[in-house]
Amino acid sequence: MTEALTTAQTLSLMGAGFVNALTPLNLLAMAASVTLGIVIGCLPGLSAAMGVALLLPMTFTMEPATGLIVLGGIYCGAIFGGSISAILIHTPGTPASAATALDGYQLTLQGKAGKALATACVSSFFGGLLSCISLYFFAPALAKLAMKFASPENFWLSIFGLTIIAGVSSKSLLKGLMSGALGLILSTIGMDPMEGVKRFQFGQVALYDGINTTCALIGLFSMSQVLILAEKKIKERGNVVAVKDRMMLTWAEFKLITPTILRSWIIGNIIGILPGAGASIACFMGYNEAYRFSKHKEDFGHGSIEGVAGSEAANNAVTGGSLIPMLTLGIPGESVTAVLMGGLIIQGLQPGPELFTRYAPMTYTFFAGFVLIQFFMLAIGLIGSKGFAHISRLSDAILIPCVTVLCVVGSFAIRKNFVDVVLMLIFGMLGYLVRKFDLNPAAIVLALILGPIGERGLRRSLLLSGGNPAILFSTPLCWALIILSVIGIMSPMLMNRLEKKSVVPESPQGDVDNRTEAEVSE
């Protein structure tokens, strides 16, 4: 099954995906991962990328589809979980819920915490569910295009991936590109793929296959977060306000937020598909559009359920969209999808067209699982939000050693190798310094993943052309990717415009007690 699939085959794979996803083990995996994701998301010290990185090794021994479902569940759960602490303690659990805090906390102060949580839950559910539509329909089409890629295109594809993530997710474009180049150098550690000679192994046999990507991910995203938490004064979190009203929306309220959810779905989906933009931008854009179209503008900043719905539907709509470039082209647009890509690689799978031909049954099982995850998120969110709110008060002092232990276990578990633990610590320290000095950890990780693909693409191309670099400019697809790379470098200006456009009405409570600078930059 190497050719592109027909419509009938695709439909049959979609159906089979649901059958495979509905096994008891997969359902249990969905419930557990969504719960874990919500816990991680509602803890203001932790982020979605960090949670996925930390739990990546747990998926190592699972079936690939189950492993991906677990990671998808953590991702969706964490994005929704951030809204719980945003609404109840005025502290967004993740940057993706920063806009939710503006009106969510106002509703809490008015004794409508249940209403705010129900709105966040329902909007997140519909945002996530609708985003699956684009996942089902755009991903195979893009994968078909990716089938035309040969060595020169693969080289430019890796360059495009790096320029987009380095450009968009960094405060300084040059620093982002430097981070990518540093990652490219680190990706050369290990055996030379063409000449078969050892490179830069520092006498360590464990580095024969290069740097273990999962260890690097755990170090850069999770261990570095421990060090970030350790350097700050341990603060007591705000008290959780008791949820006295029912966690339910009336039919009239549901009708009121429906147009907002639909608008935010489109916004979040497009933002998700665009490599480089993420849920933190989408939530403000969704909120902003909800404000622009609302007939009750005066409620915004004073407790508007439309505001909560706009932000939450948009940030969860990002999830499905952001998987498209990652699964089809191997270009993760942000930190979480870069880590999710690590989850694919750990299973021995390479993102790209093969996921939609050779491994199509596994991919469609994951897609079906992703749809079902949204239902689990709705149920667990509605039932458990009051309980999760208490977890969100957990002190950073307790999180610091707990996360450290999980980092050590996770990095050891992959190859049962002590060197991997040391490697994780080195990347943890590197990640800490990288974040302190405004470099970009996501670009380093992406370069570690894309580096070998780009290297093989470049060297094979030159081998085929007898060393003539003109082969790199020989097809229209190469030129399209070169143009996209240039746009990738220019994209920070576009993103700045998008962020500036998302002007948010002032909250009477003042600024939201937001995340640390490093967390936001992540």
């Binding site: 021994t61 350097e231 004064k233 050693p401 276990v409 470049l458």
Partner: protein
């Protein structure tokens, strides 16, 4: 220009120098790609130096370190770092479970977590690791020299 950026630039040039010196020991065909990526980093770093110089002329030189390390709790940070390093060393000597329990109890004590919370957190995290990794995933965690 920020003085703190000098550290970034020095680090990047240091990486370039280290990898370049190692590249020269490889056979010629294997040198091409590493030289390409090293040059890439060197060029980007040099561009950043030029930007720093231009910024210095325009806006003057700022410290930058006070911004990078604002609110830095040195004592607390280094206590945690020392405990993490001790934990990794203890892993080899005492095995995972003992090392993790000692690490958790002492670190939580140093971070002034109340005794009861300290014990509960230690028991919970060790139970999670045992059931998730040892029982569910079948991962054999380090046993140490004595056990």
């Amino acid at each position: 220009m920020k003085k703190s950026d000098i550290c970034v630039v020095a680090f990047m040039y240091g990486v370039c120098a280290l990898f370049f010196s190692m590249t020269l020991k490889l056979k010629p065909a294997a040198q091409i790609y590493p030289k390409f990526v090293i040059s890439l980093l060197a060029v980007l770093t040099t561009l950043y130096v030029i930007k720093m110089v231009m910024d210095a002329k325009k806006y003057g030189v700022q410290n930058g370190f006070d911004e990078v390390f604002a609110g830095f709790q040195a004592q607390q940070f280094f206590k945690v770092v020392v405990m993490i390093l001790a934990f990794v060393v203890m892993l080899k000597v005492f095995g995972f479970y003992i090392a993790a329990a000692v690490f958790m109890l002492i670190t939580l004590y140093l971070l002034k977590v109340p005794k009861l919370h300290n014990i509960i957190a230690t028991v919970v995290i060790i139970a999670i690791v045992y059931f998730a990794f040892t029982e569910f995933l079948g991962v054999r965690l380090p046993k140490g020299m004595f056990f």
